[in-house]
């Protein structure tokens, strides 16, 4: 896969900044992991090792935490992450058709990344904006009232 992996320097830089920001304490572990995940798109093994060393937490417990929370990913993701809301309120107002159309257009199943490293498709539970469902989120852009026909057009907006 040609998914971009990050250089070691970049990883350490991001980890340092995150630890600096929150402090090297166990109770700050989730904010730190969140920050690294946000900056790099995922949490590379090198980052885990560095955080483990600095927080004096065993690596196993770090992996335990990272694997527990849906938003934290230890695998590289595509340049754009598409989150599809799979909760019932969106489902009953046409979410299923949107999901089919998304999978079809992208040629991806949930949790897959396209071979060119452009897209990762993930599902999410309710984002709390059900009154404009069905909802998809691409990177940080929220699209409400999506219908299946609009999907190709929305996707075309991303490089």
């Amino acid at each position: 896969m040609s998914v971009e992996t990050k250089s070691r320097e970049k990883i350490l830089e991001v980890v340092n900044a995150a630890i600096e920001k929150f402090g090297a304490k166990q109770e700050e572990l989730i904010p730190i992991l969140n920050e690294v995940n946000r900056q790099l798109g995922y949490i590379p093994t090198e980052a885990m090792e560095e955080i483990s060393r600095r927080l004096k937490e065993p690596k196993s417990s770090l992996f335990g935490v990272a694997s527990f929370y849906h938003m934290l990913s230890t695998k590289p993701r595509g340049r754009h992450v598409i989150q599809f809301c799979e909760s019932a309120p969106c489902h009953v107002v046409g979410g299923r058709e949107v999901f089919e159309s998304l999978k079809e257009e992208l040629g991806l199943e949930p949790n897959e990344t396209s071979p060119d490293g452009k897209w990762t498709l993930i599902t999410t539970s309710c984002l709390g904006v059900c009154s404009v469902g069905p909802v998809i989120v691409i990177d940080e852009d929220i699209y409400g009232n999506v219908d299946a026909r609009k999907v190709p057009e929305i996707l075309a907006r991303y490089e």
Partner: protein, 593 residues
């Protein structure tokens, strides 16, 4: 994640696109970059803003201003006036400006707003606005005139019950935490709001954060805590930033920190974020997550009131529970208890979703009937369809059918009907809904969210999901219903936390009220609501089809054939039953058989 002070939503429906919506978006982006506002104002694409004929159109939040007919040439002027100078541009405002807040409209006759009273009315980022609405008066009263015991007594007498789901009396919980031995105590606000379809807490946090903060300070005073945490789900970035601004403003005015209002009482507050795990809404899991661990529940007792955060006595309440407190203190326990029923006092917020004419947030006195909520407040079922059921209480709740429309909404009646009050999600389902599909849906959710710590929940939910999936796929077998019933019983009694204990509810309740639908799927291989894909077929009505080719061009698998102006035909073997053709046909020629 960035925090934006403004969001611009541009409609990109076909009609608006034709009028240059994309050009408008690009021009807006360029201008925001040029003026250095790009980190403060976010441009989003949306649809159906409403004034279709006047496009391109946009809505600007938080003001909720609706601008129409904006061209790229107008953008520099608009950005300068609206975003730099903060002035509304009348020229582009939607004529007969009717700004609709899709989530929270004006209260209807049956509503009473206590928790939502300030939402949409005050600027949540300006503490002065809150203070002008009697904000922090209750805190001042508590700190100068009341002992902690008197505060607890008032809350007890108000009858307020926890709004996070279980409905435990709030005053009692405070009493337990106060009486628990230990010097250090904490108050925690549960803002994890993970039930699909529920966004009441988000709205309060984004619209009136100080009411929650004030409620927490009062609780801290009552139980003797000096530090508090608000645990907010990471999916709510706007709520987190609004809270942080509010906390800072409260600190600046001496309402948080040392010696609050000169009373000698110290208390401070911090926001903690989750990272996407539904089970973290369960209080012991939430505590583990704040401590930086995996958010797994642990057995109770000991309850958090005795052993909570870092093993200290901790009071955990929901956002809405805290938001009620200032009004109860100011207007009195009797005033609050004047709303509701004998055992369920006060008001409750609900998020109405699904097939209703008016979805969105409401706040109603407890004891109101489902019929009043659905028809009077929610405006009835969309498109004149018939009501089928309402799912209350989220994934651990149940479906209630039409026979129960006159059920008064209180904790006890709901339990009798086989559901729970839950946090306030209410999904209304019309006649076109397949109840087996709905049950499968919720099971898919709980199965996914089970933390896996105990076997009945981890394995049992997966088993139930497998069975429901095969029933929906037309492969249900004789005995499946009994198997489901046994599994439900097993999971309910042997799971450690509320997630596992409540997970069977959607299945149990649909089996109780819609058993015939299960039977139709299993024995007749038929989905009465025509939803389950393996059990339906899409067909084109020759009489209605004009041969416009739209469906054939949109079918993702090229299952539709036909010449222009000739009747089109669907090949059932290629068709994946995605339903797109039915959506795109303008002549209602595609039907489900």
């Amino acid at each position: 994640m960035k925090y934006y002070r403004s969001h611009v939503l541009v409609c990109v429906d076909p009609e608006c696109l034709q009028k240059g919506a994309h050009e408008l978006v690009d021009a807006l982006q360029d201008e925001l970059v040029a003026t250095g506002l790009i980190d403060e104002v976010q441009v989003l694409e949306t649809s159906r803003i409403g004034g279709c004929s006047l496009g391109p159109e946009m809505m600007v939040y938080p003001e909720g201003v609706h601008y129409v007919g904006v061209t790229p040439d107008d953008v520099p002027y608009l950005v300068e006036e609206h975003f730099l100078k903060g002035r509304l541009v009348n020229k582009f405002q939607m004529p007969t400006t009717k700004v609709v807040d899709e989530e929270l409209g004006a209260p209807t006759q049956k509503e009473v707003r206590i928790v939502l009273r300030n939402c949409g009315k005050i600027d949540p980022e300006n503490i002065e606005d809150y203070i002008a609405e009697d904000g922090y008066q209750a805190l001042a009263k508590v700190l100068t005139e009341m002992t902690p015991e008197e505060v607890i007594d008032t809350v007890l007498r108000s009858g307020l019950r926890g709004r996070g789901g279980a409905g435990f009396p709030t005053g009692k919980k405070w009493q337990f935490t106060r009486q628990a031995p230990g010097e250090i105590k904490y108050v925690v606000c549960n803002a994890d709001e993970g039930d699909p379809g529920a966004f009441m807490n988000r709205r309060v946090l984004e619209g009136d954060p100080h009411s929650v903060i004030e409620g927490m300070i009062i609780a801290a005073y009552a139980i003797g805590a000096h530090q508090g945490y608000i645990y907010c789900r990471a999916e709510y970035p706007v709520a987190v930033s609004t809270l942080n601004i509010a906390i800072q403003q409260a600190r600046n005015l001496g309402l948080l920190g040392k010696d609050i209002l000169g009373s000698g009482f110290d208390f401070d507050l911090e926001v903690r974020m989750g990272a996407g795990a539904f089970v973290c809404g369960e209080e012991t899991a939430l505590i583990a997550s704040i401590e930086g661990r995996r958010g797994e529940p642990r057995p109770r007792p000991p309850f958090p009131a005795v052993q909570g955060l870092w093993n200290k006595p901790t009071n955990v309440n929901n956002v809405e529970t805290y938001a009620n407190i200032p009004q109860i203190i100011l207007k009195g326990a009797e005033w609050y208890a004047g709303y509701g029923t004998e055992k369920s006092k006060g008001t409750k917020t609900f998020a109405l979703a699904g097939d209703l004419n008016h979805t969105g947030l409401i706040e109603v006195p407890l004891g109101i009937t489902l019929r009043e909520i659905i028809y009077d407040v929610g405006g009835g079922i969309k498109d004149g369809k018939a009501f089928k059921a309402v799912q209350i209480g989220g994934p651990m709740g149940g479906c209630v059918p039409a026979e129960y429309l006159d059920l008064p909404l209180d904790y006890e009646s709901l339990a009798q009907a086989g559901t729970i009050m839950g946090s306030g999600g209410m999904i209304v389902l019309d006649e076109d809904t397949c109840m087996v599909d709905v049950a499968r849906y919720f099971m898919d959710f709980t199965q996914d969210e089970s933390c896996g710590k105990c076997t009945p929940c981890r394995v049992g939910t997966r088993r139930i999901l497998e069975i429901l999936t095969r029933i929906c796929d037309g492969k249900g077998q004789d005995g499946d219903i009994e198997l489901l019933e046994n599994l439900c019983q097993e999971i309910r009694t042997n799971s450690l936390c509320g997630l596992g204990q409540g997970a069977p509810n959607p299945v149990v309740s649909t089996l109780r009220y819609f058993r015939d639908e299960y039977e139709a799927h299993i024995y007749e291989k038929r989905c009465p609501a025509k939803v389950c894909r393996s059990l339906i077929r899409y067909e084109i009505l020759p009489d209605a089809c004009t041969g416009c080719t739209v469906c054939a061009r949109n079918c993702p698998v090229n299952a539709i054939s036909g010449e222009r102006r000739q009747t089109h035909v669907i090949d059932p073997d290629t068709c994946i039953r995605c339903g797109i053709c039915m959506q795109v046909c303008n002549f209602n020629a595609v039907v489900i058989e």
